[in-house]
């Protein structure tokens, strides 16, 4: 096996309709290494890995595994050759227990064959112990934390004794501590001689854990490097194809003002998914307040309390621009001049299958600019959409295109353009750069800073610590529905301290 690459792509090409997803892709992954695949959205990361996992056959090119040319017809073929994949969205049957989920995955079980649960359990428990995975085997997996769910996914693969493990964006949902644990395990797996391929867009993590990296842009490899020969800046440049500006934070004014655009006083609420307890939170004009926290610690409840208070029972006071909002409907809150970037763009932000101009007016469609007496003024709508797409560099610049045809970054730019069209005084930016490529992230961050400098108050809810530290004037840490720590921008934030607070160890 030595010297033989574990995986080798040679001139691989894959096209969907007119859209070339992967072209002339060549790279190899050394056996027994951790190899990172980085690239922006749509660069072909996932597609190339899905080719390797047998989900898509390549149109052209040669794929070799351990030196053997392979032609997979389905993931089953790939699994038989010892390739396992942890998908970004876990493939778990949520109401089933961890044990059942893994048993579901065992190959060579025939229909009506007896399932030796006890034997399997003993075997899996031993395996889990080897990697110090602490798993509750009998609880429905949707009650377990995402970190644990991920460990179950990894165990699934280990139970097959896969030699090549593909992880698609494994750190997206983890706390800094969990990420550390994951990396420890990856290194351990490497030490056992397994080959690990991780797809990610977080370059710092690449530097921290990988041995080698392949950068993809527009479906082809723009760089194949050893980690020792590269840097974050270098990788970013290869990903985007140009230099990336570093947002300067030095020009910040101290916030002496006491003009609050949003004020929450002792807010309590509870819904099916989480709670907020005794929340006090203010956003001043010209200030970006970051909300840090692991997902599921009350962020969604905070967002709902602000955007659609009418539907939830809220104890306490919420004021937006001195107007109490706890009883208002979503439409009434919006009328106060609140703009919101939705935390989940596809679910809350855009209407798929519809053209860009219809998406651009969503939520603003009743304004006198766009409609009179209930009839649309399409001339205005088209003109405004065009102008905004120009200003925000949304591509392709065709207002009649369906929103689905746009990359995540361009979709988000359109959403940002929409929400900023009336120069709002208060912006709720929930995960504003989720699933967005680096170029667009930079742009969206600039827009947020511009809005702040113009005097808007911004509440930034994000799971990306880096983003919070770049943009926020203050960072508040939300843990189990409470604010457990506040960090003011000095010269820089201490990532470790914030991370600890996120994990409840303030």
């Amino acid at each position: 096996m030595s010297g033989q690459p574990a995986v080798e792509f040679t001139g691989v090409h894959k096209q969907f309709g007119d859209c070339i997803s992967v072209q002339k892709l060549s790279f190899s992954v050394a056996a027994g290494s951790i190899h990172a695949i980085v690239g922006e959205n749509g660069a072909g990361k996932s597609t190339s890995m899905k080719i390797l996992f047998g989900l898509y056959p390549p149109d052209e090119g040669i794929l070799k595994v351990h030196g053997q040319e392979v032609h997979f017809h389905s993931p089953a073929d790939a699994m038989n050759l010892g390739i396992g994949m942890v998908h970004q969205h876990f493939m778990l049957a949520e109401p089933l227990s961890a044990l059942d989920n893994i048993l579901l995955f065992q190959k060579n079980t025939k229909a009506f064959q007896g399932l030796r649960r006890r034997e399997h359990r003993a075997r899996l428990q031993k395996l889990a112990a080897e990697y110090q995975f602490d798993i509750n085997w009998d609880v429905p997996v949707h009650r377990l934390s995402v970190g644990t769910q991920q460990r179950i996914e990894i165990l699934k693969i280990l139970s097959q004794d896969s030699k090549i493990i593909i992880l698609d964006e494994p750190t997206a949902v983890l706390t800094p501590q969990e990420i550390d644990d994951l990396f420890k395990n990856l290194r351990k797996l490497k030490a056992e001689g397994r080959t690990i391929i991780i797809i990610t867009h977080k370059l710092k993590e690449v530097m921290a854990v990988a041995d080698a990296v392949t950068v993809l842009r527009a479906g082809t490899a723009t760089a194949n490097k050893k980690i020792s020969e590269t840097s974050v800046e270098d990788l970013a440049e290869h990903m985007v194809g140009r230099k990336i500006k570093n947002l300067s934070l030095s020009s910040r004014t101290q916030f002496a003002n006491q003009n609050f655009v949003m004020k929450m006083t002792d807010v309590n609420l509870a819904d099916k998914h989480g709670t907020l307890a005794h929340l006090n939170l203010q956003v001043r004009t010209g200030e970006i307040v970051g909300i840090a926290g692991v997902e599921g610690n009350g962020q969604d409840q905070l967002i709902y309390a602000l955007l659609d208070p009418h539907h939830i029972k809220i104890k306490g006071q919420i004021k937006i621009k001195d107007q109490s909002t706890v009883k208002l409907t979503a439409a009434q809150v919006r009328a106060l001049g609140l703009a919101a970037f939705p935390e989940d763009r596809l679910r809350f932000g855009v209407v798929s299958g519809r053209p860009l101009y219809e998406n651009f007016i969503l939520g603003y469609h009743n304004s006198t600019e766009y409609a009179r007496l209930g009839f649309f003024n399409f001339q205005n709508i088209f003109a405004k959409t065009k102008a905004a797409m120009e200003k925000f560099d949304v591509r392709p610049r065709d207002i009649y295109t369906q929103i689905d045809r746009l990359s995540g970054g361009n979709q988000q730019k359109l959403v940002v353009a929409r929400e900023l069209q009336n120069n709002p005084d208060f912006i709720l930016a929930a995960k504003p750069t989720r699933g967005v490529d680096i170029g667009a992230i930079e742009f969206i961050h600039e827009q947020l800073l511009d809005a702040r400098n113009r005097g808007a108050g911004i509440l930034l809810v994000s799971s990306e610590l880096e983003e919070l530290m770049t943009l926020s004037d203050r960072i508040l840490v939300l843990f189990k529905g409470q604010i457990v720590a506040e960090f003011l921008r000095g010269n820089h934030y201490n990532e470790i301290e914030i991370g600890a607070a996120m994990g409840g160890r303030a």
Partner: protein, 346 residues
């Protein structure tokens, strides 16, 4: 659109080929269908008579569908509407002409709208699925209509289950150019109104803020809520309007031709309306043409009984089903390409 009609043609061809299993010549059957549907002015008139309610029912299904709801209740809605129009005409026989049909139509639309509203309200407020509710409302409407027809306003001069005739002022006949062009057929000006209503629905859906909100709710209710659009309100309105659209059937039936409500007058218009909307891909203008095709099929099949020994008019149901399958296979095609497109991302 092209592929929809390809699906239509495919379904038709397969259905006709089936007739050869019964020893018939498919071309001969096709000829019968064609002649029966379009062979003479009289035949065409009847085809258009069937087309009219199908346009209204197709629009009803299409509108509801744009808001993400499936209106299977067209049958009940049109039954209630027609009964109401007939009842108004029977109870107030002396209202003069221009007012009388307007009054009956208003009553019909209000009743059908209410019938749709009930389903919409239950869906929006109580979460009861509109498919179940509208099906149940169909049965309730049928039961109510039978009772009302036989016990309250039966036709004294007939053994058939039908209401008494409405007052003379309710008939469009003397002013009805469509009816005059197709003498001896029941087709009426309701056809022209159906086309006009279809255009109105198109304008409503694509040119107004209400239509926009309705489509957004249908496409992505979560995004609609975030944008301050009330999903509940829109859904209730959509079902109410859908009911009213189906209620327009009363116009052609009571004011245009029969002048009464007959139990079982509807040849499943409410259900064929679903096929019409499907065929038209919920486009209101497309509904006009799809309704015409379905109307032609319905009329065409009526002569199969007479002209052949082995194929009966029920065969049109087979043709309809195969056409729906043919068109639905188009949907499958779209779905396949879409999911492919989705996998492409990232």
């Amino acid at each position: 659109m092209k592929r929809t009609f390809a699906g239509f043609a495919l379904g038709l061809v397969i259905a006709l080929s089936l007739t050869s299993l019964a020893g018939e010549n498919p071309f001969h059957i096709a000829g019968i269908l064609y002649n029966s549907a379009f062979g003479s002015r009289y035949d065409l008139g009847l085809t258009l008579f069937y087309t009219t309610p199908l346009i209204f029912c197709g629009l009803s299904v299409a509108l509801a569908f744009h808001s993400g709801l499936f209106n299977i209740g067209g049958e009940g809605q049109l039954t209630m509407a027609t009964l109401t129009a007939a009842a108004i005409g029977v109870f107030l026989p002396n209202v003069p002409f221009p007012l009388a049909p307007l009054l009956a139509l208003a009553g019909a639309l209000a009743m059908a709208g209410f019938w749709g509203f009930v389903a919409g309200w239950l869906r929006a407020v109580r979460g009861s699925h509109e498919v179940i509710v509208t099906i149940m409302l169909n049965f309730i409407a049928a039961g109510l209509a039978s009772w009302f027809t036989l016990r309250v306003i039966p036709n004294p001069n007939s053994q058939n289950p039908e209401t008494a005739l409405v007052g003379a002022g309710y008939f469009l006949k003397d002013y009805d150019l469509v009816a005059k062009f197709f003498p001896d057929t029941p087709v009426s000006a309701a056809l022209v109104i159906a086309i006009f209503v279809a255009i109105c629905v198109w304008v409503l859906l694509w040119k107004t803020t209400f239509g926009y909100e309705l489509r957004v709710v249908g496409a992505n209710p979560d995004a609609a809520n975030r944008a301050g659009i009330s999903e509940k309100k829109i859904r209730i309105w959509a079902m109410g309007l859908a009911g009213a659209l189906a209620g327009f059937v009363a116009l052609g039936e009571v004011m245009g031709s029969a002048g009464q409500f007959k139990v079982g007058f509807s040849a499943d218009y409410g259900f064929i309306g679903i096929a019409v909307a499907l065929l038209a891909q919920n486009n209101p203008i497309g509904v006009i043409f799809a309704a015409f095709l379905m109307g032609a099929l319905h009329k065409g099949a009526s002569d199969l009984d007479l002209e052949t020994t082995t194929i009966t008019r029920d065969f049109s149901k087979i043709i309809q089903s195969l056409i729906i399958l043919g068109v639905a296979s188009h949907g499958l095609w779209v779905w396949k390409t879409r999911t492919k497109g989705k996998k492409r991302q990232s």
